[in-house]
């Protein structure tokens, strides 16, 4: 893996560590907030205690919600490495791709997976689970295991082949590899959901489902970019 990929991983880690992005676009003090008239009878119970329903009903049985499972943890840890590699791949795009739609797609994937990776690291931290260290190519490779241990992951040879490519050849390789990479993620989701006690926490189910839904949609887009263009708007 070359230096720029390693650098992009470091950037990812910095972002994951919670460096806030400035987003003010000008003045240093916020303008006066458009306030409601002071005399407004706005009935805001914000400061009051939460309402108690006069007929609060608990349907059926209840019990402590289930915690995360070992399979949940393993999935998230593997996905951290998986996302890190996706970001290494998208990091190659600006200087090697020729198609504009490939560049846009890579930007979209990069933005989403960077934030998802931060979310997953926090998921592990909040649950007291080990967070994979991915600051060197060596550790990344170890986290991923050999290709086959984690579905869809590129081997160091494949990553090198991608990094060495340019123009139309890079476009094609990038799409093929990323499709395979995404399909690996879907396989991992499917495997997780076949395990006992998986994704019982609402936050976990949502994260898993979002990974699945987003990557499915992206695979469809990439397949269309590789083969026939998507159908034009048409009516029957």
């Amino acid at each position: 893996m070359n230096g720029s990929s390693a650098r992009s991983i470091v950037v990812v880690l910095l972002l994951a560590a919670g460096v806030a992005t400035a987003c003010r676009s000008g003045s240093s003090t916020p303008a006066a907030v458009d306030a409601r008239p002071a005399a407004a009878a706005a009935d805001s119970s914000a400061a009051a205690a939460p309402p108690v329903s006069p007929a609060a009903t608990v349907a059926g049985t209840s019990g402590a919600p289930r915690r995360h499972s070992a399979a949940d943890t393993r999935f998230i840890q593997l996905m951290v490495a998986h996302h890190a590699q996706a970001l290494a791949m998208t990091g190659l795009v600006p200087t090697r791709a020729s198609r504009r739609d490939v560049k846009l797609l890579a930007e979209r994937i990069a933005v989403s997976q960077r934030d998802e990776l931060a979310l997953m690291r926090r998921w592990l931290q909040e649950r007291g689970e080990p967070v994979p260290e991915l600051d060197t190519p060596h550790r990344q490779h170890d986290a991923g295991g050999h290709a086959g241990a984690m579905p869809g992951m590129l081997t160091p040879e494949e990553l090198a082949r991608l990094a060495a490519a340019n123009g139309a050849e890079f476009d094609r390789l990038f799409l093929e590899y990323m499709i395979r990479h995404h399909e690996g993620a879907l396989a991992m989701v499917a495997e997780l959901l076949r395990s006992q006690g998986a994704a019982q926490e609402a936050a976990t189910f949502r994260l898993v489902n979002d990974v699945d839904a987003d990557q499915r949609a992206e695979i469809a887009r990439m397949r269309a970019m590789l083969g026939a263009p998507p159908s034009e708007a048409r009516h029957h």
Binding site: S25, P50, G60, G63, E107, R194, A213, I219, L226, A228
Partner: protein, 600 residues
């Protein structure tokens, strides 16, 4: 600028340049980007920028919207130790009479809004299993469940086994005849659960209502629900992918509700191949063939025009729903800017459709100054016959912070006659009201926003939905409860226009089930059209002023005198129409004045 989004790449940079020219440039530092096109930007005095954070004490910013009431989540429906605990998140709303039904991941609330300025909690029900989206029809309440922790008995302890008779994923049906004691009378299981659903009534079938089920979750093993299959469509014609389910609910016996069809709305109309959209080419060794647009997120039906718009993962689609149990796809679009087609809303005349793109799934901060303005936004299409044509984009114009999840989400039309206006939720981006009458140039006319839940941690929060109902805007706030807002007048929306909107009354409202908005004949409606003509210079200024005086005069008269005055005004308007700049609007005003004359 009208453009077909499926066209050749050559068109895209031009469109982007036009967008860039139309929007103000942001001064924010740019991340490594493909090219410099429009980002989320706002005038520097937008009060939404850098709002103070907090759970229940965040700072607020509003323009042309006033918060008239706020209610936090009730006891037992939040985790005091963790404000962002997603297991208690509020989700979508449904409306009937003076009740607002607020669904969520832990159950639902029923709010009495007889006085919208003072909502009262009538009932809560604990029934775990997200997302908890609701619809209501008379005495029946429907609830979507997709999570693997969903239980038949509404319990909170989840289900560990991969195959279990305790598990429920599908649509629950509650009888709310006794609204203080909702009773679950049916649990219709589906193969992928129900992420959300659409209630559809069939005017030809009074005995039943129908539910279109959108399942986007993992497919259950056949051992848990017979007939379920996650097979690839090329290999398995019974696959649970690539379809929606239709539930028929007998109103006299809702416990007999069941799935009656599973239309393959993605099928290729020529070959019948189940996975008809997004045919890809070769994609190299070692790849599979299972992944395409195979699910719909939201389907919005508009039965009175016989159409539904489906936001389905990789595509926006149009459905013919004249046969309710067997909807048929009649058109589809792609937009290379869309990550994930999420919701659809028709304009009242059915000539425009707004599709939303939920880039980032709702959990990510996608309204930052570094994010593209066409991503995670609304795409506005015109609909002519069966042809959808892309016209413009709308995105929340004020940049949000990195800890505020934000993207286009749920909303509905605001019934201002003569204009296409929508109110929409943007998660922690707040609530935005925008006019899309000109589909190529949407413009924001009102907003309400709070600062982030946290300055340091991103969590899923903010407004899940914001809908107009009987004169007010109701916002379901994920972590903070229920908001009630009212429009206030400005240059962009007069009091007359607001009065006309507030006069529209519905007995019930489920946001994915649109019905034709009609305005009772009123002076407010006539004045609204007049105000619009004045604002847009659709009529000579002196005429616009004279019409205002005439309306005032006619309103002070009674009986035959009023009728005469109004009829004469209508005749004058017919004449005005011949030379007016905005002929259609003058004609609409003439019609409104005639309707008023008939009303007497």
């Amino acid at each position: 600028m009208r453009s077909d989004p499926t066209t050749r790449r050559a068109a895209a940079p031009l469109r982007s340049l036009l967008l860039a020219a139309a929007l103000l440039a942001a001064a924010a530092p740019a991340a490594a980007q493909t090219d410099s096109t429009a980002r989320v930007a706002a005038p520097t005095d937008d009060p939404r920028v850098a709002l103070g954070s907090g759970w229940m004490d965040a700072k607020e910013a509003a323009r042309n919207l006033e918060l008239v009431a706020h209610r936090p989540r009730p006891e037992g429906f939040f985790n005091p130790a963790s404000m962002g605990d997603f297991g208690f998140a509020n989700a979508d709303l449904a409306f009937r009479g003076n009740y607002v039904f607020q669904g969520g991941y832990h159950g639902f609330q029923v709010w009495d809004v007889s006085n919208p300025a003072s909502p009262k909690l009538r009932t809560s029900l604990v029934c775990a299993g997200g997302q908890g989206d609701l619809s209501v029809y008379r005495n029946l309440l429907f609830m979507s469940v997709e999570e693997t922790r969903g239980r038949m008995d509404c319990g909170t302890q989840g289900v560990a086994d991969t195959v279990s008779t305790d598990r429920f994923r599908g649509v629950r049906i509650f009888d709310i005849s006794d609204i203080d004691h909702p009773k679950q009378v049916a649990s219709v299981q589906t193969c992928r659960g129900s992420h959300t659903h659409t209630l559809v009534t069939d005017p030809k079938d009074r005995a039943n209502v129908y539910i279109y089920v959108a399942g986007t979750g993992p497919v259950r093993p056949a051992a848990e629900l017979a007939g379920c299959s996650a097979g690839a469509p090329e290999e398995d014609s019974t696959t649970s992918l690539f379809r929606i389910e239709v539930i028929r609910v007998p109103l006299a016996a809702p416990s007999n509700a069941r799935v009656v069809s599973a239309p393959r709305i993605f099928a290729d109309t020529a070959t019948g191949a189940i996975a008809g959209l997004w045919k890809g080419g070769s994609h190299g060794e070692g790849t599979q063939t299972t992944s395409q647009t195979n699910q719909c997120h939201d389907i919005t039906v508009y039965p009175e025009i016989g159409l539904a718009a489906g936001a389905c993962s990789g595509n926006g689609i149009l459905l013919d729903i004249r046969n309710i149990a067997n909807p048929k796809r009649i058109a589809e679009v792609v937009d290379p800017n869309f990550a994930y087609w999420h919701s659809a809303t028709f304009s009242n005349d059915g000539k425009k459709v707004i599709f939303t793109d939920e880039w980032g799934g709702g959990s990510q901060a996608r309204c930052q100054a570094t994010d593209r303005a066409e991503w995670g936004a609304d795409a506005i299409f015109t609909l002519t016959g069966r042809t959808l044509r892309h016209s413009g984009y709308y995105k929340l114009p004020a940049p949000q912070t990195a800890t505020e999840n934000c993207v286009a989400h749920n909303g509905s039309l605001i019934p201002v006659p003569g204009r296409d206006i929508m109110v929409q939720a943007w998660y922690q981006g707040g609530v935005s009201v925008f006019d899309f009458t000109d589909p190529a140039k949407p413009v924001e006319i009102a907003f309400f926003d709070r600062g982030p839940m946290s300055d340091t941690l991103i969590m899923i929060g903010g407004h899940w939905s914001a809908y107009w109902y009987n004169g007010r805007i109701y916002g379901s706030e994920i972590g903070r409860g229920l908001d009630v807002l009212r429009l206030t007048p400005s240059e962009m929306l007069t009091q007359n226009e607001i009065d006309a909107a507030e006069a529209v009354r519905m007995s019930s409202f489920n946001p994915q089930d649109q019905s034709k908005l009609v305005w009772p004949a009123s002076f407010a409606v006539a004045r609204a059209y007049r105000d619009q003509l004045a604002r847009g210079n659709g009529l000579a200024a002196d005429r616009a002023a004279a019409i205002a005086s005439e309306l005032d005069r006619a309103e002070r008269l009674r009986g035959a005198q009023r009728r005469t005055a109004l009829t004469r005004l209508a005749t004058q308007l017919d004449r005005d129409a011949r030379t007016a700049a905005d002929v259609a609007r003058v004609r609409a005003l003439a019609t409104a004045v005639r309707d008023l004359a008939k009303k007497g």
